[in-house]
């Protein structure tokens, strides 16, 4: 159960090896935290993350998880909830890709859509069923401001996040009053290994900033969180820029 100070006792992260997930897990550590489920593809990074989080009072379960294979998801989610309620579930997986590569290999664009959108829907729907049954819990979905308005430079990625974002936002409304809190997180440019080598956009943040914003959002029951928070107003403006002008903007 999440306690009066918004501290979860159990957390499950899908896409646990993302840097944002790592930063978030560090922040959710507390004497109250009893169980962490790390769902990710097998890797040394996943195992060392598990070792770093395990304590006398916090157990860590590691699950093999492939976001691009929806048929396998129901088994993984059963395993994640096998030991009891999960207070906070995080959908943290996603691929950024590169528009030039997508253009050269349309199959890779399909793959990105499969992971980011189809995978998100697949995990989100199944987790929502569990959370509705348990009558409490939070689902955190990592979206992106890229999903708010398509840009020529990364519209495939943007469209996958747009789909995920609309899905998660609608799910949040569907679950209103069910005791389940859905939080959609829309970071701007995040400096992680996923974005390494890309030119930094204005208002860029680090994974720790995103994690801080999520913890704060949990505390205040926020439904939509922008990181940095000023991004909300920037996007609000950009949304209304005419297309003829928008496509010429250097963003």
């Amino acid at each position: 159960m999440i306690d009066a100070l918004s501290r979860p006792q159990s957390v499950a992260v899908f896409g646990a090896t993302s840097q944002i997930a790592g930063s978030l897990l560090q922040r959710l550590r507390s004497p109250a935290l009893r169980h962490i489920v790390l769902a990710a593809r097998p890797s040394p990074a996943r195992d060392s993350l598990a070792d770093s989080l395990r304590t006398d009072t916090t157990a860590v379960t590691v699950l093999d998880f492939d976001a691009s294979d929806p048929d396998s998801h129901s088994g993984v989610i059963d395993a994640a909830f096998a030991q009891g309620d999960i207070d906070v579930t995080v959908i943290a997986f996603g691929v950024l890709g590169n528009q030039a590569d997508f253009d050269a290999d349309p199959a890779s664009a399909v793959e990105a859509a499969q992971v980011n959108y189809v995978g998100g829907v697949s995990v989100g729907m199944r987790v929502a069923t569990r959370l509705r049954e348990q009558g409490h819990g939070a689902l955190i979905v990592l979206s992106s401001v890229a999903g708010e308005r398509a840009r020529a430079s990364n519209y495939v990625y943007g469209s996958t996040k747009a789909g995920l974002d609309v899905f998660a936002t609608g799910l949040g409304d569907a679950l209103h009053g069910s005791g389940v809190h859905v939080m959609v997180v829309r970071p701007g440019f995040v400096r992680t290994k996923m974005t390494e080598g890309l030119p930094e956009a204005p208002l860029s943040v680090g994974p720790d900033d995103v994690a801080d914003a999520i913890v704060n959002g949990l505390r205040h029951n926020r439904e939509t969180v922008y990181v940095p928070s000023t991004m909300r107003f920037v996007m609000s403006g950009l949304r209304h820029v005419p297309r003829s002008l928008f496509r010429r903007l250097p963003i």
Partner: protein, 443 residues
């Protein structure tokens, strides 16, 4: 019958449950038999601060429909349905010259809730807890059978303070206390520091049936200065005839509106309230006659006062430590002042002997209770460190107030927990009774 979000008095961590209304013992048994996989828990007037009367994804039994008082004014024994509030019981019996022998700071708790939390009052050092005055409980067991349990029974001791997890109390016989007036004779003393306050309590509490201290937990003034309020029932023979009365008709002065913003009660406002409260108390006053309402339940004058803390809510931190760990009281006030976690309702009291309830909170020593808004930065870590002091000192936290302790803290501080768990496993193997508190703490 409907699905609703429920939280405790502190308005933190709401969860959804299916609320089932009941009006008699047969309904209660049926509800238990049809309890869903996530179980059922009884809920009275929702005055527990944290999560004991909520049950995420399961059923919550609204017992306030269990009403009815049969009172025998010859021997002062009241047979009361579990959903009856202490307020209703007092309105019925006080005019007949009988008083509810143990009352917490509010009358707005049910008899069932008072048993489940084994509540205490200002007279714990003399009269013990609520269940010390219960002569019989009718308990609907998890399998739906209705049994009478009596003091000394294993089931009685597990149910007293058992947070509703041994069965649903349907009815209880309560031995009331004879009184000749509905007035209290009150002595008030103001102390400029914690040491002198605690010294006066340690040496003088035995001379009073009722004793409690209010402590200034703002950020101004000497740490722990306070007001000691002690008294007893006023005897009709000792007061002028025109003042004698058994009338009991408490009113409500105000209702706090539903939409109070977060942060109205903050460090500055709470400190100012503390300052004013301290200054308005007399340095010393003797034999003041007060109504029983004013003496026992001043907060009941404001309805829904928990809304004052805004939608983010608040928590109450209440611990007891033995005399040998009395320093924890001061350490707590210091640590909370350091992070600006001010409290207006800060109550210090000495407890008497421990009762037989397996999870009953009181034990001899000092108990301190503070109401703190949950938004204070750094609060979680400070309370965790205070838990360690309580553990080291041989004390414990009160389940009816708790909304954040860990299973480890519970295990280290409730020596009879294993006994409770064993009994629960025996009478309720399928966990028909369950609550968010039980899940959080592995009760």
């Amino acid at each position: 019958m409907s699905d609703v979000l429920l939280s405790g008095w502190g308005r933190t961590a709401p969860t959804r449950a299916h609320v089932v209304e009941v009006s008699d013992a047969a309904h209660v048994a049926a509800a238990l038999l049809h309890a869903p996989a996530r179980g059922l828990i009884a809920r009275g007037l929702g005055r527990s601060y944290g999560d004991p009367a909520q049950n995420a994804g399961g059923d919550v039994l609204d017992i306030t429909g269990l009403t009815g008082i049969t009172f025998d004014a010859a021997n002062g024994v009241a047979t009361v349905a579990a959903g009856v509030s202490l307020d209703a019981l007092m309105r019925e019996c006080t005019p007949q010259g009988w008083w509810v022998p143990v009352t917490p700071g509010t009358r707005q708790v049910t008899v069932g809730g008072a048993i489940a939390a084994d509540v205490h009052g200002k007279n714990h050092h003399v009269d013990g807890t609520f269940t010390a005055h219960v002569a019989r409980m009718a308990l609907s067991l998890p399998d739906g059978t209705l049994v009478n349990v009596y003091p000394g029974d294993a089931l009685f001791n597990a149910t007293a303070g058992g947070m509703g997890l041994t069965g649903v109390v349907v009815e209880a016989d309560i031995q009331l206390l004879p009184i000749t007036t509905a007035l209290a004779r009150v002595d008030t003393d103001r102390f400029d520091d914690l040491d002198s306050l605690m010294a006066a309590m340690a040496s003088g509490d035995d001379q009073y049936r009722y004793s409690v201290a209010w402590v200034d937990a703002g950020t101004r003034g000497t740490l722990g200065r306070g007001i000691l309020i002690r008294g007893d029932h006023a005897n009709a023979a000792d007061i002028p005839e025109r003042k004698r009365t058994l009338a009991f008709d408490p009113g409500t002065l105000a209702t706090v509106p539903a939409l109070v913003p977060n942060g109205l009660l903050n460090k500055a406002s709470i400190t100012a309230l503390n300052e004013a409260w301290f200054r308005k108390a007399p340095r010393q006053r003797r034999d003041e006659l007060q109504s029983l309402t004013a003496f026992f339940h001043p907060l009941d004058m404001a309805r829904d006062w928990n809304r004052m803390y805004g939608p983010r809510g608040f928590l109450q931190y209440q611990f007891v430590v033995p005399d040998s760990a009395g320093h924890v009281v001061q350490r707590t006030l210091e640590a909370l002042r350091m992070i600006g976690a001010t409290s207006f309702l800060t109550v210090l009291k000495r407890f008497g002997a421990e009762g037989p309830g397996l999870l009953s909170f009181p034990r001899p020593g000092w108990t301190l209770a503070l109401d703190i808004p949950t938004g204070v930065p750094g609060l979680a870590a400070v309370l965790d460190s205070l838990d360690e002091l309580v553990i080291e000192g041989g004390g414990r936290l009160y389940l009816a107030k708790d909304s954040r302790m860990t299973p480890r803290t519970l295990e280290l501080t409730y020596p009879r927990l294993a006994q409770f768990r064993a009994l629960r496993a025996e009478i309720d193997p399928n966990r028909r009774l369950n609550s968010d508190l039980a899940r959080r703490l592995d009760l």
